[in-house]
Symmetry: C2
Subunit: 508 residues, 2 copies
């Protein structure tokens, strides 16, 4: 049937039909239709929403994502008909039935994911099936290649290209802000794409955005890397491995991170930027994605094998994840802390050591540093001021202010100090609770929101001494964070559970 177009500015892959029209083409809400732009011959699949009043019969509401490729305007005529079932649904069914998918089948699924030709629910079925019927290494390789080839790719003429990735799970892990400048200052190239926080208090992209824009195309990333040796950008803007972002969104409600998909997700992004040498940071500890060293070693072997299949050299570092990295959580606080070290500071030691260790592995892999000396070379690069100078070049080429100093970065003006309810040792510091407090305070959206730790696990504190400060940009956000802190009690001093001794508790 033919319909008159009315554009609707909602960011989904849908069309809105009067319920009578929907019935007339035998479509129910949620059904897939093909919409044909008869002027261009372009046809796109979209999903039906229905209304009784918003759209009269004979008109079709075309949502923003639907119109990305369709490119129609108000008043145009389009043909709308019930769509055929995409063949990838059969392949998803096959995976549900416990069979292995071929390379072509995996590519078909991922292509449909990227083109929005299957629904979030259908993608969830694929993810669930792959979670239960785990992918073997062939399937992981196919998935990785499919993710790469359905997005933008960078290819460099100079080698080696270095990259790093942290698989996440530990708060305050701002090491990319140090590792990238160190590597670039050594003369190597490192085109670092990074993510925004989904469940965290700030991804590397959120952090870098405090200093400079982070939205660039893949081509721009390549140019910047060639010019100054590195860049720290938001991967979501590059259209590199776009399928991965969609998969992650669907995994999120279940907090799953199926092994095969995780491997493919990480390595697709490294492969797509043309990396030759890759360092993977695997935080290990309670509450991290990897609970113990045995599991971490197994994951490391899988990363290395997948790297070999893709012609990348991979080394993995199992890192300590029982406490936050450094003493800050939240974009501005973390950026300030990283800048202080680049400016020559020695603390926090955990941040300095971890950054130097990860950078050092890459320096050794590349041959820049003899085995066993990479970490020291990284520290030397930091101390010499070369990393700071390089970071400023990176900030400048991304459009930020290269003269920025750590003291220019101020957290939100609303703050609340939490003091030790008793003297003793900090025996527990719950990562998830700290993140939850930071998010309630407004991070990552409010760049100045977050948590600054004054004591860390194992430290001795005296009664009334500050343990941590909550920062927020809005006063109601500070209140919410305080409430969340009361509920979660993220810090334990000498085995005394704070919420069982309210009379001694200093929140009020």
């Amino acid at each position: 049937m033919k319909f008159t177009v009315k554009l609707i500015d909602i960011g989904t892959r849908e069309v809105l039909l009067n319920i009578e029209d929907a019935r007339s083409i035998n479509a129910l809400a949620g059904d897939r239709v093909q919409v044909l732009n008869e002027n261009t011959g372009v046809s796109v699949a979209a999903f039906v929403s229905t209304t009784t009043t918003l759209i009269p019969q004979g008109t079709v509401g075309v949502y923003r994502i639907t119109n990305e490729k369709l490119a129609v305007e108000d008043g145009h005529l389009v043909e709308v008909r019930l769509a055929d079932r995409p063949s990838s649904l059969q392949f998803i069914k096959k995976k549900m039935d416990g069979e292995r998918l071929t390379k072509d089948e995996t590519f078909a699924v991922i292509r449909d994911v990227v083109n929005h030709d299957i629904t979030p629910a259908e993608l969830t079925a694929y993810i669930t099936a792959c979670y239960i019927n785990a992918l073997d290494m062939d399937e992981v390789e196919h998935l990785t290649r499919a993710m790469v080839e359905t997005g933008e790719q960078i290819s460099f003429h100079t080698h080696p290209i270095v990259d790093k990735h942290s698989i996440g799970g530990v708060p305050g892990n701002k090491i990319s802000l140090l590792v990238v400048p160190i590597i670039a200052a050594s003369g190597l190239k490192i085109p670092k794409t990074s993510s925004r926080a989904i469940t965290g208090a700030g991804g590397t992209a959120d952090l870098m955005e405090v200093l400079a824009p982070v939205g660039f195309s893949a081509e721009e990333v390549q140019k910047m890397t060639l010019k100054v040796g590195g860049a720290i950008v938001w991967g979501g803007a590059t259209n590199i491995a776009p399928a991965d972002d969609r998969i992650i969104i669907q995994e999120y409600p279940f907090r799953i991170d199926a092994r095969g998909q995780m491997l493919a997700s990480v390595m697709a992004k490294k492969y797509a930027v043309g990396a030759d040498l890759v360092v993977i940071d695997i935080p290990v500890g309670q509450g991290a994605k990897v609970a113990n060293v045995m599991e971490g070693r197994k994951m490391a072997r899988e990363f290395i094998e997948l790297g070999e299949r893709l012609n990348m050299r991979v080394e993995c570092a199992l890192t300590y994840a029982d406490s936050p990295v450094g003493r800050s959580i939240g974009p501005k606080l973390e950026v300030r802390e990283a800048l202080r070290i680049l400016e020559g500071g020695d603390t926090p030691g955990s941040l300095l050591q971890k950054s130097a260790a990860i950078a050092g592995i890459a320096l050794e892999m590349s041959g820049k540093a003899p085995l066993g000396t990479g970490s020291q070379m990284a520290v030397d690069i930091l101390k010499s001021g070369a990393a700071l100078a390089k970071f400023r070049e990176i900030i400048e080429i991304q459009g930020g202010d290269p003269s920025v100093k750590s003291e220019d970065i101020s957290p939100g003006k609303y703050e609340f100090v939490v003091n030790a309810p008793a003297s003793g040792y900090v025996v527990e510091m719950n990562n998830q609770s700290l993140i939850s407090m930071a998010r309630n305070a407004g991070a990552p959206h409010d760049r100045g929101a977050g948590i600054l730790l004054h004591a860390k696990k194992g430290n001795r504190v005296e009664k009334g001494e500050p343990i941590f400060t909550i920062y927020a940009e809005r006063s109601w956000r500070l209140q919410k964070a305080i409430e969340e802190g009361r509920r979660l009690m993220p810090v334990l001093v000498e085995g005394m559970l704070l919420d069982r001794v309210p009379r001694e508790f200093s929140w009020v």
Copy 2:
């Protein structure tokens, strides 16, 4: 944050936020928020869509389903905040991990399904997990009870209450239009809820709607059944086992029908209407849901066991499904065919026999007919005119015209006759292709669209004799059905594949 309400007439469980506001509450498109009506204290979960222009900052667009319980009006103030994760997501994850769910866990999931508190994608994860990690009989029983208890229920003071169900997969299966009047005419009570077609050319509800309204509440179904002995209504309007409809919609893209869910789906509807005696029609044959008799017997045993757990007596009939039941496919054609038999007709024999057999089992189970005589009693009731009289009472009480006759029912005015391309025997008649043609002709929406078979499998036809007629209410629909017929070639005469002998093919 507080927002001003703007109602939006779109039938989903969403809210529309300006993208800046969404960021400000840390919500991404698709995230779950809680919307609080501060006047009533009612809070509902909804999912975020984002826009840059349709909604200004400070305003929230409230979609129709979101507002069903929220009950706000334009200009009201509501509080919108990021929602907690429903606990049923943990249970779904547990099922993904291969564990069994307890009764409480299953109830939590189904409650969230009914309240739209989990997304279609999350429900799909549950369905996929239950498909791969099959439910055991305890879990099936819990699922059945959860489906029943989260919807309306009917309870009768008189007994026994009879019900029947066909598990589907064979076209033209209009037997409920005969079975219900026969049973009711015998003095038994049969409150029949039925479905509309999803993939078929007409569900029993679509058929009955040709004769009378089918949308009634559970209470109305009970009253009508008490008054005239039976009713044939659309289950979707009764709010009986509403979770089931949502599950079926999500299964549809994958054409799966997980055993446990199917058992629960069928039996929940029987249990909820208070049935004591249930006859299950299990069509067996190529292309049906059950491919062979062994599988059919296994399914029958499962139905019987589940019935015992729920205190219902169940008998199953394995029925022939290689050809359509009767000679018509599509609402009006099927209704006309059923009325002709109620009016005393003897053909088509397949419809008469099958209806009498199914009704006969129920008559025997109830003690109305001695064992081995039920089917004959059903035929006698038909021949006496008692079933027709009862059907007219049912039509009348549902608000239709009780004086309706078969000759009053006319199919669509556009028709196309397909003739035999050669003399021979009809050796194949593809059920799925016949349904697809009927749907392309406009069925079930266009009640007069469908297929009338002049020959059936095994019949001798002479070259040029009509094999079947396609009916449609709109000429473009007829064209589409003809094209679909050309593509699918649903009928084979004496092993001659029609699409390989286009010169002899009489479509043109």
